[in-house]
Amino acid sequence: MSAPDSPLFLFARHMGDNGLILGHRLSEWCGHGPVLEQDITMTNIALDLIGQARLYYQLAAEMHPSDLTEDDIAYLRPERAYSNVLLVEQPNGDFAHTVLRQFLFDAWHLPFLHRLCDSPESGLGEIAAKAVKEVSYHYRWSREWVIRLGDGTEESHRRMTQALDDLWIYREELLLPSDWEQTLIRSEIIPDPDVLRPEWQHAIHATLSEAGLPIPQTPVIQQGGKNGIHTEHLGHLLAELQYMQRAYPGQVW
């Protein structure tokens, strides 16, 4: 029986999972974007997020007592061992759903990374300082599109409202710490979500209001991803993401 994984390992892997899964989703748009510039944007953001995921996985692999590699972490785990939030695994849907999913994620990701830069755990702080520059572009893009579509045509407004109804229940999970996050928050290694919350809430409300979109009133919160309890969509995504390594174990470029 091996020792349980450390909170720091679990957190680094979780951050990597968020990036890998959202990056994979965005990469599904490659060649299908509504216009060329947006196709390129979504694949660029995918590349940033997958690059960041690699850094987190490398950090996790380094601190693991076994000879685990970043590829083992990315490709050889079953669904229940992924700890990404449910939001990022939701299907692309239409462009409105993709834009809103990105916005809800970025509105948390950006202020979170700003604070993570100061983590006394230098490995995390260095990745955050690198990622925060990239994510500020992501946030600028997703925020602009939420406003443009919400305040656009009747159809774009209707589609954004639908996306809000579908995805709103997943936003809160980003600020609900798991057990391992609690430990890291207590030792001030990662930011406290209670400190983050006002800024996050303000960013979301201000953007929705500028977009002329109603703030959903549902009290429902869907969570579980951090503990490996996923929606049905993750399994299908992993079937594609892991296919090569499952079909041809150990294959390299």
Binding site: E37, Q38, I40, T41, N44, I45, L47, D48, L49, I50, G51, Q52, R54, L55, S122, G125, E126, I127, A129, K130, A131, K133, E134, Y137, R140, W141
Partner: protein
């Protein structure tokens, strides 16, 4: 027995390695070579930093650095990658900026300044997309000569 190379000689050798996506720029122009050291036993350590986390050229750049050093008679160079401090376009050399512009890519500008059109030099330009053909570029258009152009984003 290999002769010990000076740091300057190593830098000279490294100036042959170009960015595979923007081949007019060398790794030195880009500012991604953070350190070069020659140890007492003549071994060479080159420290590099990625431009963007997901830059797909990094692995290739590392391979090419190794190749030119080995070719120059340095048997087993060590190439280290660091993340901190995070790369910034401030590290791009003036020579690099000039080469970019001649190549048709507007070099990074101070924040909130419109890049000048690399063809007609007009500042009357607009952003088409904050994301372009590679992670480090955005797509802009000149409103005077109407040409679209790549802009190397300030980072």
């Amino acid at each position: 027995m290999t002769a010990t190379r000076s740091r300057d000689e190593i830098l000279q050798i490294l100036s042959r390695v170009c960015d595979p996506e923007i081949p007019v720029l060398t790794v030195l122009d880009l500012g991604i070579i953070r350190d070069v050291s020659v140890e007492n036993d003549s071994s060479v350590i080159v420290t590099i930093t990625p431009t963007y986390s997901g830059c797909p050229a990094m692995r290739l750049i590392e391979t090419e650095i190794r190749a030119v050093l080995v070719e120059a008679g340095i048997p087993d160079p060590v190439i280290r990658t660091i993340l901190h401090p995070a790369w910034t376009t401030d590290w791009m050399t003036p020579a690099g900026r000039e080469k970019l512009e001649r190549f048709g890519i507007a070099p990074p500008q101070p924040r909130d300044q419109h890049p000048p059109c690399p063809r007609c030099h007009s500042r009357n330009t607009r952003e088409l997309s904050a994301f372009g053909s590679t992670a480090c570029k955005a797509l802009w258009q000149c409103q005077d000569c109407k040409e679209p152009f790549d802009y190397f984003k300030c980072h």
